[in-house]
Symmetry: C2
Subunit: 199 residues, 2 copies
């Protein structure tokens, strides 16, 4: 894998060596696999890779960022959601559907998203890992911003429709869904997402 | 596998032998796997199993029935849909959601449905097979009964929400969805299905 040099920081680079980035990614995959998303710590990943914890943050940022890198996640729904929720309240449903479908227009993104979905659903060991990530970084954050007592269920229902749409359009490839335009799908599925969040 | 003897018919049983049923199931798996759901024929499956085509119908009924048996399909959505669509038109959304969730209450059904979903999404060879079955026996039939020009897209959107709900509740097990009551989910997801069909 090629890589760009990390930006120098004020306190200098923590020690690592030229293959530190790959060692950290391998350690992250092992640690997340062994303990799950919630229980894995940046400190344990650093120890497993034999580098300073500061170097892990330096290369990869937060635990969510490192997880996304380690599983090759092509979309960062956890990053997009605050931006989408910040828009006009009555357009948030359409905004979420449009964001996801437009991201999937890029062939590289689509290929990696399909591979990740296939693995996460098909592999019994991989499922709980993605589930914990989604619950912590996506469902939990949307629920917090909604604030209602049933906010977590509302956010989970949004997730169920978005995941189902991705699978039906890009994996199962039901002809009518695979051939529909983004505008048409935003008009049809946007109100579903809006209703789950608002009703 | 244990089995009950087939009921005698007026014209007598076509020849088969005591292991004919298992041979037919194995031949069906091979033939569906090699040619897909649409292109596989009952005649070719019979030839592969070295039995009369009449024996295949005698043991398994239609091609849809044989496919369901060969993949261990625990739910027969293609059979349920006509019954659901025959009910009051403004309750069809709630009816579909309730039917699926109530079927999944049975632990054996749930286990086999989860296994089939995992395989169909996770295994690149298995996906097109289930896709063709769903398109032909489910989406196509619902679309025909709806009759609108965009009926196939509407039926596919229903499928996307139902599949997403099953995955989020029974495979990914998002806590809020896994813990929700059937009544609550019917109240929240039923209107989505109704709107996809009617709006």
């Amino acid at each position: 894998m090629t890589e760009t040099a990390p930006k120098p920081r004020r306190r200098g680079r923590p020690r690592g060596g030229s293959d530190a980035r790959e060692r950290i990614l391998a350690a992250a995959a092992d640690e997340f696999g062994a303990h799950g998303y919630d229980a894995a710590t940046m400190r344990a990943i650093a120890a497993r890779a034999d580098v300073d914890a500061a170097l892990v943050h330096h290369y990869f940022g937060t635990k969510a960022d490192l997880f996304a890198a380690s599983v090759g996640m092509p979309l960062r729904p956890d990053r997009a959601v605050p931006l989408i929720l910040a828009g006009p309240r009555d357009e948030v449903g359409a905004g979420i559907v449009r964001f996801v479908l437009e991201q999937m227009e890029d062939p590289g993104t689509r290929k990696r998203a399909v591979a990740l979905l296939r693995t996460s659903i098909g592999n019994r060991m991989a499922t709980p890992l993605l589930a914990e990530f989604l619950q912590r970084e996506l469902i939990g954050r949307i629920a917090k911003s909604l604030g209602a007592p049933d906010a977590e269920l509302r956010a989970s229902l949004v997730g169920s429709q978005i995941a189902g749409l991705l699978m039906a359009r890009y994996i199962v490839k039901l002809p009518a869904l695979a051939g529909a335009s983004i505008d048409d799908l935003v008009a049809r599925v946007g109100p579903t997402v809006q209703r789950y969040l608002d009703d």
